[in-house]
Amino acid sequence: MTAQIELTNVNKYYGAYHALKDIELSIRKGSFTALVGPSGCGKSTLLRSLAGLESISSGTLKIASEVMNAVPPRKRDVAMVFQSYALYPHMTVEENLTYSLRIKGVAKAERKKAANEVAAVTGLTHLLGRYPRELSGGQRQRVAMSRAIIRHPKAFLFDEPLSNLDAALRVHMRKEIRALHDRLGATSVYVTHDQVEAMTMADHVVIMRDGVIEQQGSPLQLYDRPANKFVAGFIGSPAMNFLPAVGGQDGRSIILDLGIKQTIALDRAVQPGRPLIVGLRPEHIELAEAGEGVLSAPVALVESTGATCFLTMQTTPELSVVFNGRSEARAGDRVGLNFASASIHLFDADTERRLPD
């Protein structure tokens, strides 16, 4: 468990704007780490700081145990896949792939051999003579990755590499990138705004907001135990339901406010009268017969994709429910809702932090 990339107390200012705030991050060698967050959260700035395209204002940045704060990008030995791919338009695919080797002064025959090897892995062999403008989006994406692979760098940095592809190709490339990562045993850092990408591809997910790391951990850790309301709402699709509540007088229940107040028993202790936010994932709610279940509410909207059914309840705030299969319920029907007490997430109403279980 050696750290390939280590950031200690890293800060970044653009003038007065504080873009990265006290970043502490350790990226294990061989891991796939996703930096995820809404736009403007600093994830790209963080990635570009790793690459050396941005300089950090304070703190320490180590790659393979060497301090890299003032080392220029070309000496960091990291490869980056850009959102725009940044392929050299005046070079063929082969020249694009071997550019770094050419800069290093590798002999032509050796460069050709390396290009052929990488192209065989990424399925570009028949495209080596083409120019980037003659390639499709997916092919360009592959060239950009191959250009990184050929260098055997200390780390791969991905800056939203799939956002220019259509949905079907994105799902396909997701798997391909992950498979490639496993095959190469590389260390990858992957920036995305898409939490599904982060959850499906990464071993370690770092969630950022406003230049701060809100939480980091394995995808399931983040899903099961979100540290605050922001993380809870960011991870999972459709998003978690947030309902206002207060602690019940007996200390082992909560009083939900869904327009009408409802008391729900809890599997853990809670301070009586404390204002709370209750988080409930739509997929953790089950439908029950009217009058049964923990809650009862009228249906506002039923949406079905065939395989999955999305229900929106006519409550304030709205409550959404999702389950596999189909539903007989129609808008206006009153249904019962059931969920396990253990699936309830509790957050403090003021700090929005998760309450200890």
């Binding site: 990008p73 070309r74 940044a86 050299y88 338009p89 005046h90 070079m91 050419r102 800069i103 403008r133």
Partner: protein
């Protein structure tokens, strides 16, 4: 009338009408004089036949006579020197400035705008100013060269046959640099930033980035500016009129000035036209290069 109206409404035919207007303009004001000039180069023209179009046809006699004249080859050589030296000078200084302003220091765009002053000035004014700068007795250029110890005595730039052509070249480089700079600046700013970032991560230093990214990406801009430079320097007349008048003894004479001199001062219209035809050939070649290089834009 109905057809005309409908052509405006449905647009059919109207586009041809729009195109024919500038085409007619080009044909009457550029095409016909060009053809007339070519025809004249194969005719015997004197003051008395100037008014008529049907003049005695003499074949290539004008061309043979022209190249029999002793000053023709030196003047063609002068033209070549003038064109090559001007373009090289304008391009190198212009590209250097464009790269300099590209670093985007505070005030860069403001300063770059100021450089355009040289381009908006009329050639005759530029010539008059350079006359003072180049002046043998009190010129600033001589003063600087003398004070820095590069020369011992004054150079009489405009009247020394060894320097008079270079006097015009220096003025022309100054005149054309800003145009080169602006066009090359546009080309530079069109290169995507992330290409530099990618090549930087691929290990390229500043020098390698310049040779492997900047120059190849600028290929079409450079082709265009050199072709335009060729056209503009072959058109450069004002500076010769203002600075040396082609002298002394044709030492700084070039074809474009000589053509005017032959036609309108020696009234040898046929030879003037002949020289012009030779120039047209070169300008045509430059135009083809220009059109081809702008068509060959490489953009991701």
């Amino acid at each position: 009338m109905k057809r005309f109206l409908s052509s405006i409404i449905d647009g059919r035919g109207f586009d041809i009408g729009l195109v024919s207007l500038p085409l007619a303009f080009l044909l009457t004001l550029s095409g016909l004089p060009l053809l007339y000039n070519i025809v004249m180069s194969f005719q015997e023209v004197d003051m008395f036949s100037l008014g008529s179009f049907w003049r005695p046809f003499v074949g290539f006699k004008n061309y043979r006579d022209l190249f029999a004249q002793p000053e023709t080859w030196p003047i063609l050589a002068n033209t070549a020197t003038f064109v090559v030296a001007s373009i090289v000078g304008q391009f190198l200084v212009g590209f250097g400035l464009a790269l300099f302003f590209w670093t985007n220091f505070p005030g860069a765009s403001w300063l770059r705008g100021l450089f355009l002053v040289s381009w908006v000035m009329p050639g005759l004014v530029v010539g008059a100013i350079w006359n003072w700068i180049l002046s043998g007795d009190f010129g600033v250029l001589n003063f600087i060269l003398r004070e820095t110890g590069l020369i011992d005595g004054n150079i009489f730039w405009r009247s020394d046959p060894g320097f008079s052509l270079w006097a015009v070249i220096i003025a022309n480089i100054w005149l054309g640099t800003s145009f080169n700079m602006i066009l090359l600046s546009v080309g530079l700013s069109a290169i995507p930033r992330d290409l530099y970032e990618a090549s930087e991560l691929d290990g390229a230093n500043v020098w390698q980035r310049f040779w492997t990214i900047t120059l190849p990406m600028m290929r079409s801009s450079i082709g265009a500016i050199i072709a335009l430079g060729l056209i503009f320097t072959l058109q450069q007349f004002d500076l010769f009129a203002a600075i040396t008048s082609g002298g002394p003894n044709n030492a700084s004479n070039v074809t474009q000035y000589w053509a005017w001199d032959l036609s309108f001062r020696q009234y040898d219209f046929a030879k003037g036209a002949t020289i012009s035809v030779i120039m047209i050939v070169f300008v045509m070649i430059a135009s083809v290069v220009y059109v081809r290089s702008t068509r060959h834009e490489v953009r991701g």
